[in-house]
Every structure is written in structure tokens, then in C-alpha cells.
């Protein structure tokens, strides 16, 4: 399969224009990161004062929300990027060009990376400015963890795109719903053992849980938790393969049932 960088670039530029001309889209990149940092940072400070637990709780919450934004930004960028085509009824326009599906996803994912850098940068700056939490203090170990969470975000977005292709715009709510279901189950702010017992097996099956557990170990000052990082990586690969298979199946159904007319 010959992928075209030019076509991928065309998708990136298209979404750059959309973001630039849609002030409300900046909420995802600038406003929600600050709101979340304020919310969880202040909650951590309050709990620490009440319990005398020191700054460890604040670090857990701030590192957790920073890493959760890796999932959030990567997932929302791709899902909403695709939904932009359904909202502007542009799917058919694209489907009758040489653009391949994989090039389209690569384009929105690439543009999403830029949004991710912005969003994470805002969280990191806000955490440092408001609560003197320097993400660099956690160390380079955060990089593989963030990479895994980036993949988790993309995997969720592939599921969301598949659902929108199959069920139409009524499935769009899942773009946000799936992610916020993953948030408590992944133990973003706490170890999975804090979850009700019946939910723990689900939690341990998610790659994001192992990534966040690895982050917590780093915050506790322990050595690089390669075991958890490896488990997360394996989980990412399995879920990515499942998501791709699901998306391809939904694309086939989309073409077989003529669902493109919903968006034209």
C-alpha cells in the first residue's frame, strides 16, 4: 500500500484551519486543562491539609490529571477530527478522492499530536505555576508511560469512529463517554486495589491501569517499573489490534449498508 505524505498533510492542514477558526475548540486545548489542574490540584491540597498527609497526595492527583490529559487529548483530537467530517457532511467528498482511510487517521492523529503537546504543556505549566509541581521532577520514566497512554487514546478513538460509522451521529456521545468510563477504571488517581472488588479484573485488563500504576511507582520514588510498563505495552498492542479489526469491520458495514448517505 502506497501511503501519500501529501494526502496526510492535506488532512493536517484542513484540521489546522478548523481549529484556528473555531474558538470553542480551544477549550479542549487551553481551558479544560487549566480547569482540571485547578480542580484536582486544589482537591489534593485540601485533603493534604485535612489529613496531614503531606504533598504526596497532591502529586498523585496532578500527575494523574496530566497523564489523563494524554489520553484525553489524543482521543478527542482523532474522534472529534473525524466527527468534524460528519458534522460538515464532508465524508462523501473525502471518500471519492484517492485518500485512504489509514492516511486520514494518520492525518488527524498527527494533528492531534500538536494539540496534545499544547494541552499537556498547559497542564504542566498550570501545575507548576499554581502548585509548584514540576513534572520534570518525576523524571524521564514518564515518557514511555505517556507514549502508552497516547496509544490508549488513539485506540479509544478508533472504537468511537467505528461506532459512529455503524450507528451514526447518535453514537457521538461515546467519544466522551468511553473515555470517562476508562478514567475511574484505570486508577488515574489511586491504585486499582481501591476499586470495588468486582471491578478490579476489568481494571487490570486495561493497559491504562498498568501505565498509571507505573506512574504512581515513579511518584513514590521507586525504580523504573518495567514490569508494569511491559504489561501496559502488551495490553496496548492487543487493544490496538482489536480496535483496528473493529474499525475495519464497521467500515465494511458502512459501505455495505450505504450509510454514507447519512452524512451527505
Amino acid at each position: 500500500m502506497n501511503l501519500s505524505w501529501r494526502r496526510i498533510r492535506a488532512v493536517v492542514i484542513r484540521h489546522y484551519h478548523v481549529l484556528w477558526r473555531s474558538p470553542h475548540r480551544w477549550f479542549d486545548v487551553l481551558v479544560w486543562p487549566i480547569v482540571d489542574t485547578l480542580l484536582f490540584g486544589s482537591l489534593g491540597v485540601f485533603v493534604a491539609r485535612q489529613t496531614g498527609a503531606g504533598r504526596a497526595g497532591v502529586s498523585y492527583l496532578l500527575a494523574g490529571i496530566l497523564l489523563f490529559h494524554v489520553i484525553y487529548q489524543s482521543q478527542i483530537s482523532v474522534s472529534v477530527g473525524f466527527m468534524e467530517e460528519t458534522w460538515s457532511r464532508n465524508l462523501l467528498n473525502l471518500m471519492v478522492t484517492p485518500l485512504r482511510e489509514v492516511e486520514y487517521v494518520a492525518g488527524v492523529a498527527l494533528f492531534g499530536l500538536a494539540k496534545l503537546v499544547l494541552g499537556i504543556g498547559v497542564v504542566a505549566l498550570a501545575a507548576w505555576g499554581f502548585y509548584s509541581f514540576a513534572v520534570s521532577d518525576v523524571g524521564w520514566g514518564l515518557i514511555p508511560i505517556a507514549a502508552e497512554l497516547l496509544l490508549v487514546g488513539w485506540v479509544i478513538s478508533l472504537f468511537v469512529i467505528g461506532l459512529v460509522l455503524r450507528f451514526g451521529q447518535s453514537a457521538e456521545v461515546l467519544a466522551w463517554g468511553l473515555m470517562f468510563m476508562a478514567m475511574p477504571l484505570s486508577g488515574v488517581f489511586y491504585p486499582p486495589s481501591a476499586l470495588p472488588a468486582f471491578l478490579r479484573p476489568i481494571s487490570y485488563a486495561l493497559p491504562s491501569t498498568h501505565a498509571f500504576t507505573a506512574a504512581h511507582r515513579l511518584l513514590d520514588g521507586r525504580a523504573m517499573p518495567w514490569h508494569e510498563i511491559t504489561l501496559a505495552a502488551i495490553g496496548c498492542v492487543i487493544f490496538a489490534l482489536l480496535a483496528l479489526a473493529f474499525l475495519l469491520r464497521m467500515l465494511r458495514v458502512f459501505r455495505q449498508r450505504g450509510f454514507v448517505t447519512r452524512f451527505a
Binding site: S4, R6, R7, R9, A10, I13, R14, H17, V18, R21, S22, E84, E85, W87, S88, R89, N90, L92, N93, L94, M95, V96, T97, P98, L99, R100, L163, R166, F167, G168, S170, A171, L174, R252, R255, Q256, R257, G258, F259, V260, T261, R262, A264
Partner: protein, 255 residues
């Protein structure tokens, strides 16, 4: 004879009702073909199958020597498509929309092609307008400019002049006819405007209830029905199919 498009035995059913029922279509290079028929005859479904946007239940499609769906991307390099009902992507200026599609079609230097395309259809004044600010007629013209930026070998137009006033429609018809003639572009067009079809096309294919009921030169087809004009052929077919429309593809279903 080298065919630009070959479709054999195309069928498509939605919820058990056949929208397209065994359509065979071969279009040779340089032909200008009108795909006609009353509402619900299966024209748009057929077009979308020919473009790879809908998978036929049975049958094969080959465009410019590339079999669909496997070689869809390669096939679409040489195809342009515009439809009167398709909007432009939102939040982009006209020149940005056109540049984006020029890039998707692999044009090295999009700017001159964009300018030439706007000039060809007399709409250079729309260059910096936002797509959302255009009237439906202007949007349709820009859609046609978009579809012809890369000088396709096969141009597919679905109801291109449906929302245009007579003056603009005439300009668009002339532009399409001139381009097809000068560049040897093969044309496949659907329209309810029989006068337009007679002016632009040299061959018509009539669909009724998803089947090809007539295929030939415009004057031959009318004569075959024993009447004078394509308009009368259309009315005769529409009358026979009155209120007997196949369903559209599924509109809604919930998770």
C-alpha cells in the same frame, strides 16, 4: 475498445428491497453519458457503487482499469465527483478547500490549478469566501471546480445544476461541455433536466426500478419509446413507477 468504466451485474438491496437490480454499464473514453430516471430509480446508489462509496451486493466495478474496492485509491486518482447536494467542508475558505482537494489528488503546485479552475467557471470572486457563506448555487459550482482541479479522466456529476439559476446553470453546462471536449474527459452525469442532458450528453442510460430500461444515443432512445423527446421518455417512466419507490439506505439506528 478501452473502457473508462465497466460495471457488471450490479445489485444493491436495502432492507430487502432492491434499489439496483442487475445494472451493466460500460463507458468508453470520451463518452458523455447521462444516467437518467425518476426519483428512486437507483441513480445515486448506482453512482455511489461506481465510486466505491457503497459496496454492491453482487457485481463488479472497474474504473480506469482498477478493480474496486481493492484499488479504489488508484482509481480515484483519475475521477472527479461533484453533487448538487454535497456541502463544502466548514470553516475553510474556498481557496483552502480547493487546495486541500488538489493535494488529495496529488497536484504538485495547487495554486495555479485552483486559479485556473475558478476562472474556468467564472467564480474567481469567490476565492476568499468562506464555504459556509456561499449560496447553494455557488457551493455547487465550487464543488464542480473541486471535482475538475486535477483534470480527471472520468467526471461524475450527480444533479450538478439542480440548485442553480438558469444563467449559472447554463454557464456550468458550457464549462463542463467545453472541458470534456477540450480535455477528452469522459462524463457520467445524472440530471432531471432533460434539455441539459440533450445538450451535454451523447448517450443516455435510463434506469427504472433499479434496472436499465434504455441505453443508447439520445435521439435513438426517444425513438425507441415511440416519442419525440427525452422529457417524454422520462415522464412515461416516472408515471409507470408512481409512488413505487424503493427505500433509501437505513437512516437511523441506535447503539
Amino acid at each position: 475498445m478501452g473502457y473508462v468504466l465497466q460495471a457488471e451485474g450490479l445489485t444493491k438491496a436495502f432492507r430487502g428491497v432492491r434499489a439496483v437490480d442487475g445494472v451493466d454499464l460500460r463507458i468508453a473514453a470520451g463518452e458523455r453519458v447521462g444516467l437518467l430516471g425518476p426519483n428512486g430509480a437507483g441513480k445515486t446508489t448506482t453512482l455511489l457503487m461506481l465510486l466505491g462509496a457503497i459496496t454492491p451486493d453482487t457485481g463488479t466495478v472497474e474504473v480506469l482499469g482498477h478493480a474496486l474496492p481493492r484499488e479504489r485509491s488508484e482509481a480515484m486518482q483519475g475521477v472527479g465527483f461533484a453533487a448538487g447536494y454535497l456541502p463544502l467542508p466548514e470553516r475553510l475558505r474556498v481557496r483552502e478547500v480547493l487546495s486541500m482537494f488538489a493535494e488529495l489528488y496529488g497536484i504538485d503546485d495547487p495554486e495555479p490549478q485552483v486559479q485556473a479552475g475558478l476562472e474556468r467557471f467564472g467564480v474567481t470572486h469567490l476565492r476568499d469566501a468562506m464555504g459556509s457563506e456561499l449560496s447553494s448555487g455557488q457551493r455547487t459550482v465550487i464543488g464542480i471546480v473541486k471535482a475538475t482541479l486535477h483534470r480527471p479522466r472520468l467526471l461524475v456529476l450527480d444533479e450538478p445544476t439542480a440548485s442553480l439559476d438558469p444563467d449559472v446553470a447554463q454557464r456550468v453546462r458550457n464549462g463542463i461541455a467545453r472541458m470534456c471536449r477540450d480535455d477528452g474527459i469522459t462524463l457520467l452525469i445524472t440530471s432531471h433536466n432533460m434539455v441539459e442532458v440533450e445538450r451535454v450528453c451523447d448517450r443516455v442510460v435510463f434506469l427504472s426500478a433499479g434496472r436499465v430500461v434504455a441505453d443508447g444515443r439520445t435521439d435513438e432512445v426517444a425513438a425507441r419509446f415511440g416519442i419525440d423527446t427525452l422529457e417524454d421518455v422520462f415522464l412515461q417512466l416516472a408515471g409507470a413507477r408512481e409512488l413505487d419507490l424503493p427505500p433509501e439506505p437505513e437512516e437511523t439506528s441506535r447503539p
